[in-house]
């Protein structure tokens, strides 16, 4: 959403580049926004998921085990919220954090793989627990540079 200023203004970490993608946090009065960029919507979703994990911890999250998720929605933006909510659900019920993500999107259906490990409170020092992804500042769009971005505010 342009109202927040063009990236990377206000980024906590504007230099998180991974596999051509990147992510950032952006400010919300009470909570926090997550945004990922990538050459495809799937890659932008993967990067935004990293931003979601960084809401919880600054520590490295090791890829010790793998969890599969799937979700669907009538459009890409709603699908993005479903994706983040699927991760939040797995974080909550498995008491895990995830650091690597793989996404495939086909015809409104998303299949995702999450790689992570159980929460280790002393090491991860988790700062906040995401409650749910919201439709506030929700936008999945392709910029003039051809990069996709996926963003929304997460309630913590």
């Amino acid at each position: 959403m342009q109202a927040f200023g063009a990236a990377p203004a206000g980024c906590r970490r504007s230099s998180e580049f991974t596999g051509g993608g990147r992510w950032e946090h952006f400010a919300h009065d009470a909570d926090i926004g997550v945004r990922g960029w990538g050459s495809t919507p799937a890659e932008a979703f993967e990067q935004a998921a990293k931003a979601l994990t960084a809401v919880v911890t600054d520590a490295n999250v090791l890829p010790r085990s793998e969890v599969s998720v799937s979700c669907s929605a009538p459009d890409l933006e709603l699908l993005f919220v479903e994706w983040l909510n699927a991760i939040i659900y797995e974080m909550a019920v498995r008491r895990m954090l995830f650091g690597q993500f793989m996404v495939q999107i086909e015809q409104g259906r998303l299949k995702g793989t999450l790689l992570g490990e159980p929460v280790d409170v002393p090491r991860h020092a988790p700062a906040a627990e995401p409650k749910g992804a919201t439709y506030t500042a929700l936008e999945v769009t392709r910029g003039s540079d051809g990069l996709w971005s996926a963003a929304c505010v997460v309630d913590v």
């Binding site: 206000g10 906590r12 946090h25 952006f26 400010a27 919300h28 009065d29 009470a30 909570d31 926090i32 919880v56 600054d58 929605a73 009538p74 709603l78 919220v81 479903e82 909510n85 939040i88 659900y89 909550a92 019920v93 008491r95 929460v119 280790d120 409170v121 991860h124 020092a125 988790p126 700062a127 906040a128 627990e129 409650k131 749910g132 992804a133 919201t134 439709y135 506030t136 929700l138 505010v153 309630d155 913590v156």
Partner: protein
């Protein structure tokens, strides 16, 4: 925010007349400083709320109003089911029935101080808090449904609380109309091991000193005096409420068009009260309310256990337990007629004045305790409902200080370790598994709660009774 568009009715009332799709005015209760510091986006959200079908009288914003989701935080709106009124998942929020309870300990500050550090350490150990904080209670499917139907009454039956607590909890500890069958398996799975956990973010358990009394008569009826010690718990319906909120938000967005509802913002997702989705949401939301009531009752029980260890003769009595993310069916006087309305309070506290029939006999002559959480450094307030609030905002008041800086900005400005040390030097012990979490909740990241409650009092929403100063704060 630019105030030029508003008509200033009196020093703390600002009105934006309906235009475009707005069905009612926006009414903001704030002093000049507070309204100027409000985000334009919060006002835009209040304006969007004013367009929703069946809204009655006004879209209200409390003095702590700020940018939320769909509804502003600090937003109050009532809807009439007989005039196409809606219920909104976004208008209740993700943490359904998040709220505050304050318990009186009967102890004096001087009795706490020699044991303050041990008490703080013990509370951190005994109160599961933060991400990865695991409770000791696991619910099977039968227990889950019993909890969702029974609320704090269920907790008391199971031995986590006392019978006498119930009359001091909204709805006497059990929200009627809960429908556990409307709660998804995923929401229940998220809650299976979460009962009796505090959560994280701005949730806390505090041991507080009564620092100042504003209204000695009401304070005496509430049972509080200067230098008394109280325990205050702020938390909600945990993972269950969040999952219900997320699921119904999506369902209401997808079904809005077929219900003939134009959404100015998808986060305002709603459904007619008299629709299948609306009724199902109400059933699930009330079940989540019971989850929050049960959770605070269990946490209160844990606090009792810790206090009993250090102070064998202490007796923790509930002053009151009130939620600030709710939709409640209430009867209100509108243009001379009593009407049954669905009152949404998103980050706003119900604040019934003297004589309200729902209040227990001991509180009825003076009104409902209204519990306002501040930041961990500055303190909190106990207010009492004001009869004028019925006409002002359907008997509602503020709920907290409201953030002045985002988490993001707070992290740039403060170190958690330094905050813990600085507050310790002031006699406030912070206990948290995360120093970053402490930095995000830095006292300086919040507005001045004193200004918020003073504006609430001037606006006739609720009156100040006491100010509380933190001694110990356990944060998730």
């Amino acid at each position: 925010m630019e105030t030029a568009l508003f008509t200033r009715i009196d020093p703390t009332t600002w009105r934006l007349e309906p235009s475009g799709a707005m069905r009612v005015p926006v009414v903001i209760y704030a002093d000049q400083g507070l309204i100027e510091s409000m985000d334009d986006k919060a006002i835009a959200q209040a304006t969007n709320v004013a367009t929703l079908p069946g809204i009655v009288r006004g879209s209200y914003v409390m003095p702590d109003g700020h940018w939320g989701y769909g509804f502003p935080i600090g937003g109050v709106a009532a809807f009439d089911p007989d005039h196409g009124g809606i219920v909104s998942a976004g208008g209740v929020g993700f943490d359904i029935s998040c709220g505050v309870r304050t318990m009186l300990t009967g102890l004096k500050v001087a009795e706490i101080l020699p044991k303050q550090k041990q008490l703080a350490d013990s509370l951190l150990r005994q109160i599961p808090a933060g991400v990865g904080g695991t409770g000791t209670i696991t619910l099977d499917a039968i227990d889950m449904d019993a909890m969702l139907a029974g609320g704090a009454q269920w907790a008391v039956e199971r031995g986590w609380g006392e019978e006498a607590d119930l009359e001091r909890i909204e709805e006497e500890g059990r929200m009627a109309g809960a429908r556990p069958e409307c709660v998804s398996d995923r929401a229940k799975e998220r809650q299976r091991e979460e009962m009796g956990t505090l959560g994280s973010g701005n949730h806390y358990l505090e041991v507080q000193a009564v620092a100042e009394i504003f209204d000695p008569v009401v304070a005496e009826i509430f049972g509080i005096a200067k230098d008394n010690v109280v325990v205050t718990i702020h938390c909600g319906s945990r993972g269950l409420g969040h999952q219900i909120g997320s699921e119904f938000l999506k369902e209401m967005v997808v079904t809005a068009a077929e219900n003939g509802i134009v959404l100015p913002d998808r986060e305002l997702a709603c459904a007619p009260i008299n629709s299948e989705v609306g009724q199902r949401y109400l059933g699930a939301m009330r079940a989540a309310t019971n989850c929050a009531l049960a959770n605070r009752e269990i946490l209160g029980h844990y606090a009792r256990r810790v206090f009993a260890h250090f102070f064998p003769h202490s007796e923790l009595r509930v002053l009151f337990d009130v939620s600030h993310n709710t939709c409640k069916v209430e009867t209100h006087l509108v243009e001379g007629k009593q009407r049954k309305l669905f009152v949404h309070r998103k980050g706003a506290t119900r604040a019934f004045g003297p004589g309200h029939e729902s209040l227990p006999a001991a509180l009825r002559p003076v009104g409902q305790p209204v519990l306002i959480g501040g930041s961990m450094g500055t303190g909190s307030y106990i207010l009492v409902g004001d009869a004028r609030s019925e006409a002002q905002a359907f008997s509602s008041a503020c709920h907290g200080a409201g953030r002045a800086l985002s988490r993001h900005a707070a992290l740039k400005q403060w170190s958690g370790r330094k905050i813990v040390d600085d507050l310790a030097a002031q006699g406030i012990l912070i206990r948290s598994p995360s120093t970053r979490g402490v930095a995000e909740e830095a006292p300086g990241a919040y507005k001045d709660v004193g200004a918020v409650v003073a504006a609430a009092e001037r606006a006739g929403l609720a009156r100040r009774v006491a100010r509380l100063r933190p001694l110990i704060c356990v944060k998730g």
